[in-house]
């Protein structure tokens, strides 16, 4: 129950900034339009690139704009608070709490993600649907699987952002690591260009990395490119990365805790 309460506060906190949300939706839509025309030009010249048709490609663009904030692709979210608290030393208070550092910030971040999904996720999708005729998931299974995959994407992204924020325990300032991590996420999630049209072996490598979880995997489920065993394999890989990354988070927290104790004298 505690975690639900934390998540609810996370949701409410982000819902305070209405103008920011509207401005963000507008920006997502502008970029959606730009990339839609770029991809339409590409798919007109190569109608079957990456196993997508033109409609799939445009749908992919709008899913990307919808997930950009939901998975906090560029970083940010509650882990930014953590990094700031590490820099100021307030994190010592967090460590005193009878709740683990990872679940506490994860719960808050899931609340944030829910808010961003309902606003900055749904609104551009509606615009894309009416302006560019994007396709919707073909079945109830696909819709459900997409939502599961999306939650896994948020947790994966959280774990990576948590590690980035934790770098502040050693560097004091996370901004450099955060930006480099954001770059990797941008390119390897398929936000710059869908991973399906990457040349081999880059394509296979990108598919195996955790960032594929952010956009390519959920999008493929939405588009019906992953069904049956392939679908389960996709979700399985997402889960596997989460287990691995969260384990690393825990190791880092315990290493950092010792360091904080040292700092405190």
């Amino acid at each position: 129950m505690l975690y639900v309460a934390i998540a609810t506060r996370g949701f409410r906190r982000y819902s305070t900034y209405r103008a920011a949300t509207l401005a963000g939706i507008f920006t997502n839509c502008v970029f959606g339009v730009i990339y839609s025309y770029a991809y339409l030009a590409l798919w007109e010249q190569r109608p079957d690139a990456g196993g997508y048709d033109a409609t799939d490609a445009v749908t992919y663009v709008w899913i990307g704009q919808a997930l950009l904030m939901t998975v906090a692709l560029w970083g940010g979210g509650t882990t930014d608070d953590l990094a700031e608290r590490i820099r100021t030393g307030d994190v010592a208070i967090d460590l005193y709490r009878p709740v683990g550092l990872v679940p506490w910030y994860l719960a808050a971040d899931l609340g944030r993600a829910a808010y961003h999904f309902l606003t900055r996720g749904l609104a551009p999708t509606v615009v894309g649907f009416f302006v560019f005729d994007i396709v919707l998931p073909g079945s109830a299974t696909a819709t459900l699987a997409f939502l599961v995959s999306l939650v896994l994407a948020v947790v994966t992204s959280f774990a990576i952002r948590f590690l980035v924020a934790s770098s502040a325990f050693w560097l004091l300032d996370q901004s450099g690591v955060k930006m480099l991590s954001g770059l990797a996420a941008m390119f390897l999630s398929g936000m710059v260009l869908p991973l399906v049209i990457f040349p081999e072996p880059l394509r296979s490598i990108a598919f195996a990395l955790p960032w594929a979880s952010y956009l390519q995997t959920p999008a493929d489920i939405w588009l019906g490119k992953r069904v049956g065993l392939d679908l389960l394999a996709g979700l399985g890989l997402q889960g596997l990365w989460i287990v691995l990354l969260v384990a690393v988070c825990q190791v880092v927290v315990s290493a950092a805790t010792r360091k904080v104790v040292v700092q405190g004298g």
């Binding site: 103008a19 401005a23 025309y37 770029a38 030009a41 560097l171 300032d173 450099g176 770059l183 390119f187």
Partner: protein, 272 residues
């Protein structure tokens, strides 16, 4: 008149003094500084890698080869890069209003716009400009240069910076009305940059017309580049548009100044 001139003459020195402080401050976290500079260099480079992968797949985009797109990309990138380095911090105006630091700036004997623009001056943004210059230089190698093309190219680069400069200021002024809508400006600044990385012929003619007559970002690279590439305008716009950028840029800067003055005059502090 003499007073105004004195203020304008003083401004660059004051700007430089504030900027120098921020450079020293950013060097305090050295690891972050190195990584941020590297990231700034890579940031837009990945956009170019995306374009190159696209072109690798299809050979040309709407008849434009990779080097021709590189020319568009480089010109637009230099424009927004220079504007972002010099005055990108104007985006933070909403935060200054919210936290009340704008009040403190207003009582200092340095023009407000100089303080806001020099605030958090980030030398690492040179990384982005370097990368755009490199791509532009690579593309320029293939251009069939003539003296008049050199003039058009020089005017283009300077005007592109001024056009993005005006876009940053004009759309940041919205924050005088709604403090947390800073992202709205991104649609025009970074959106304009992303759009002009592509040959504008991939967009419908309505989009091109709005980019010519409403938010004239097409003058930042598209029209001059068509001239540099010896191409006919696919939308049949007049050829003299190639030399229009300085005038468009000047007009946009006037709009930006007006927007800024209106915003500042309207500003009444947060009061708390």
């Amino acid at each position: 008149m003499g007073e105004v001139l004195a203020v304008v003459r003083e401004a660059p020195r004051q700007y430089a003094r504030i900027a120098r402080l921020w450079v020293r401050s950013s060097l305090a976290y050295r690891a972050s500084f190195v990584m941020l500079t590297l990231a700034s260099l890579l940031l837009t480079f990945l956009d170019f890698v995306g374009l190159a992968l696209m072109l690798h797949l299809i050979g040309d985009l709407d008849g434009f080869a990779l080097w021709e797109i590189a020319l568009l990309y480089g010109a637009s990138g230099i424009g927004i890069g220079v504007a972002d380095l010099l005055i990108g911090s104007v985006e933070q105006i909403g935060q200054h209003i919210r936290s009340g630091t704008l009040d403190a700036m207003m009582v200092r004997p340095v023009p407000l716009i100089v303080q806001v623009c020099a605030d958090r001056f980030a030398i690492r943004r040179l990384g982005r400009i370097t990368q755009a210059v490199a791509v532009f230089a690579w593309a320029a190698w293939s251009v069939d240069w003539t003296p008049s093309k050199v003039v058009v190219a020089l005017l283009m680069v300077v005007s592109a910076s001024a056009i993005f400069f005006a876009l940053f200021v004009t759309f940041s002024c919205i924050q005088f009305w709604t403090q947390d809508a800073s992202e709205f400006a991104n649609a025009f600044t970074y959106g304009g940059n992303t759009m002009t990385q592509y040959p504008l012929s991939i967009f419908p003619s309505e989009v091109l017309k709005s980019l010519t007559f409403v938010i004239p970002v097409a003058f930042a690279n598209w029209y001059p580049c068509l001239y540099l590439l010896d191409r006919e305008d696919p939308f049949g716009m007049p050829e003299w548009f190639a030399v229009a950028p300085p005038f468009v840029a000047a007009l946009m800067c006037v709009v930006a100044v007006l927007a800024w003055r209106t915003g500042v005059r309207r500003y009444t502090s947060t009061g708390s």
